[in-house]
């Protein structure tokens, strides 16, 4: 990791993936002073340029992770904008949208500016998502206009769900004035109650309180109804249920302005993995049944699901190294975003690599309305070079995030990010 490296870069012999067009072509890329100046065959570079031999490798736009928790401000022992951005870049992510459940919450101009200022020196670009309600309390609408002007790319009460339907309706109507998406964590909290894992065969077998899929589905249904009437742009994040996929498919057909994302861990695991009582698999929404998992994979294949996002949620060892009931919800995911998704979607489900790349570049960039997820001459270089031929068991020591609570530790994952150019600089290069 070297954020100061400022030399010209030549990526030689790779296969470039263009997610916007779905195209794949062999080409070199030359980066001068951080800007892509040439894309073409047989580019020659001066001796001072850093050469990346990409023969047999894929060259993708840097990934866009539209759902991460950087815990900054307020929980800097778990993660900071600086450490989270480095973890992002190691995972090939060059643009990350951070959620507002910090302390204080990102619910004021001041905190939006704090995030933006701190991210100037960060390894990747950071896009703050601001709260929909003050303090994420679900009572009063935030200053959405001022927050948008300050640089918020969307609004969310992530981690919580606005239970007051009238308030949610007004949030939707008001958000239209600013054209920014509402990123919705869907959970009827009276339905989910004290639940710890997906309610089903395994929760009853293990004696762990269940979280019914109805908790998500009820709120997805409500918000589709509210969006139909308000015309707001809504994005359902970390979709986990089969019924959710079905409702969103229908809503899209009905012309509602709705998009959604899914996490790699919901694509990778099902609730049978919980029999180990592994607290890193304690997440919200919970890892659901195999039937739900397959519906999510199906939703990706048929294009109902628009993006894959990590929901990177760092927690301290002391918060995870306890009984299942007491452990916090969440898994880190920035560093495994690509390999976990690739293993399932391309390795197992035989999806095309450009198909996956679109879900983690152009598509989330479009939802957030940010200028990212493409490689073009004249632009600041954000590039991930990928080796799809590797396979490796994930170890705790592999992670550079401040927190180590990865659900993927012990899993064999295919594909890896070989190097990442972020903000025009070669910041990460694997050994």
């Amino acid at each position: 990791m070297d954020k100061t490296e400022n030399r010209n870069i030549l990526i030689k012999g790779g296969t470039i993936i263009d997610p916007a067009e779905g195209g794949v072509f062999a080409s070199d890329i030359y980066i001068k002073d951080g800007i892509v100046t040439e894309i073409g065959k047989n580019i020659k570079a001066g001796s001072t340029a850093v050469k990346i031999d990409a023969e047999g490798l894929s060259v993708s736009p840097g990934f866009v992770d539209m759902h991460v928790h950087l815990r900054d401000p307020g929980f800097e022992d778990k993660e900071t904008i600086e450490s989270g951005a480095l973890a992002a870049v190691k995972g090939g992510v060059t643009a990350a949208a951070c959620m507002p459940n910090t302390r204080p919450a990102i619910d004021s101009e001041h905190t939006v500016k704090y995030v933006l200022e701190k991210s100037i020196d960060a390894a990747c670009r950071v896009f703050p998502v601001a709260a929909m309600t003050r303090g994420l309390k679900g009572k009063e609408i935030t200053e959405m206009g001022l927050l948008a002007e300050a640089g918020a790319v969307g609004f969310s009460d992530d981690g919580k769900c606005v239970g007051d339907s009238r308030l949610m309706y007004e949030i939707m109507r008001y958000s239209k004035q600013f054209g920014l998406p509402l990123i919705l964590h869907e959970e009827d909290i009276l339905m989910s109650g004290d639940g710890l894992m997906h309610e089903g065969r395994y929760s009853s077998m293990l004696g762990l309180e269940g979280i019914s899929p109805l908790a998500d589905d009820l709120m997805i249904a409500r918000d589709i109804i509210l969006a139909a009437r308000s015309g707001a742009k809504i994005h359902i994040t970390h979709l986990s249920t089969k019924s959710g996929v079905e409702m969103i498919r229908k809503a899209k057909k009905d012309g509602i302005n709705i998009t959604c994302d899914v996490t790699p861990h919901h694509l990778f695991f099902n609730d049978s993995f919980l029999t180990s009582f592994n607290t890193s698999l304690k997440v919200k929404p919970p890892i659901r049944s195999e039937e739900d998992r397959q519906a999510l994979v199906g939703g990706i294949k048929e294009g109902v699901i628009d993006a894959v996002a990590s929901d990177h949620a760092p927690h301290l060892d002391t918060e995870k190294n306890t009984t299942f009931r007491l452990a916090e919800f969440g898994t880190i995911g920035l560093e495994t975003l690509f390999s976990a998704s690739f293993s399932k979607l391309c390795g197992e489900e035989k999806m095309s690599l450009p198909g996956l790349i679109k879900l983690i570049t152009a598509s989330p960039a479009k939802i957030l309305g940010i200028d990212a997820g493409k490689i073009e001459v004249g632009r600041l270089a954000d590039i991930a070079v990928i080796d799809t031929g590797t396979e490796k068991t994930v170890k705790r020591e592999d992670f550079i995030s401040k927190s180590k609570n990865s659900a993927f530790i012990g899993q064999k994952l295919k594909g890896k990010v070989v190097c990442t150019i972020s903000k025009g600089k070669l910041i990460y290069r694997s050994n």
């Binding site: 293990l206 004696g207 009582f277 009931r325």
Partner: protein, 306 residues
Amino acid sequence: MLSNKSLLDIDSLEPGDIELILSNADSFGEISKRKVKKVPTLRGKTVFNLFFEPSTRTRTSFEIAAKRLSADIVNFSAPDSSLKKGESIIDTLRTILSMKVDLVIIRHPDSGTAVMMDRLTDIPVINAGDGKNRHPTQALLDLYTINKEFGKLKGLKAAVVGDFLDSRVARSDVALFKKMGMDVTIVSPTMFLPEDFSEIKVRHCIDDVIEDCDILYMLRMQFERQSRKFYPSVMEYKRFLGLDMDRLKRMKSGSIVMHPGPVNRGIEITDEVMDVKGKLADKIVIEKQVTSGVAIRMAILYLILG
């Protein structure tokens, strides 16, 4: 001598393990009938009774079992209130392991804690009840009691009555009874049943099973373990799930009534049934279960430590 070093659940017990435990319980049960109720089998071994949840029966039963085998037993009880977030249960467990004990018996209000403890150490762990998950020694002592009453297990009809969802006893018993070829029915209202439970027969009223079952296993109504109270009332419970004299009389000859204790008198079983005299009293084997408990726990301690 058991196939695993620890006893954490029912699922990982081999048929051979179960046979071995039952047959050893027979011989250890004899010791409790002697004038001098002590054998030197486990002399020099230290057993730690680690109870993070109030319990008299199970804790005492293990204590007596260990003492009759001449093991040294240490009791540690942490009140429920001290298990707040911020206090590391892992550190508590490590502290106890550092004292170089030979076996830990653990009870904890959270599911999965016995498994977690077992992962931390090479010494054997006995799960004495973890949350709503498992209570294997209870299931084994129930099985032992049934075997003594009927002289067989296979084909016996068992009805487990009450709050299945919140009960580690029910989970363990049903798993073990099915493993031994018994015919199990759960009698429970919808709110105490998982949604998808096709593999086990379910009824909603005790009258549906009362005349036909060999074993009527009454669960304790555990209001303290229910995360939310959905069941309407005690009156309703008694009407559909309670055992009263009328129902007791309708049970077939040779059938028995069991309960893991402590009984909520007047809820799942009426006072009259609990205090019944004469021939019907033979049906109530609740005290025999407690006696079996000591024998079973002696057998398990011996098989793990001996």
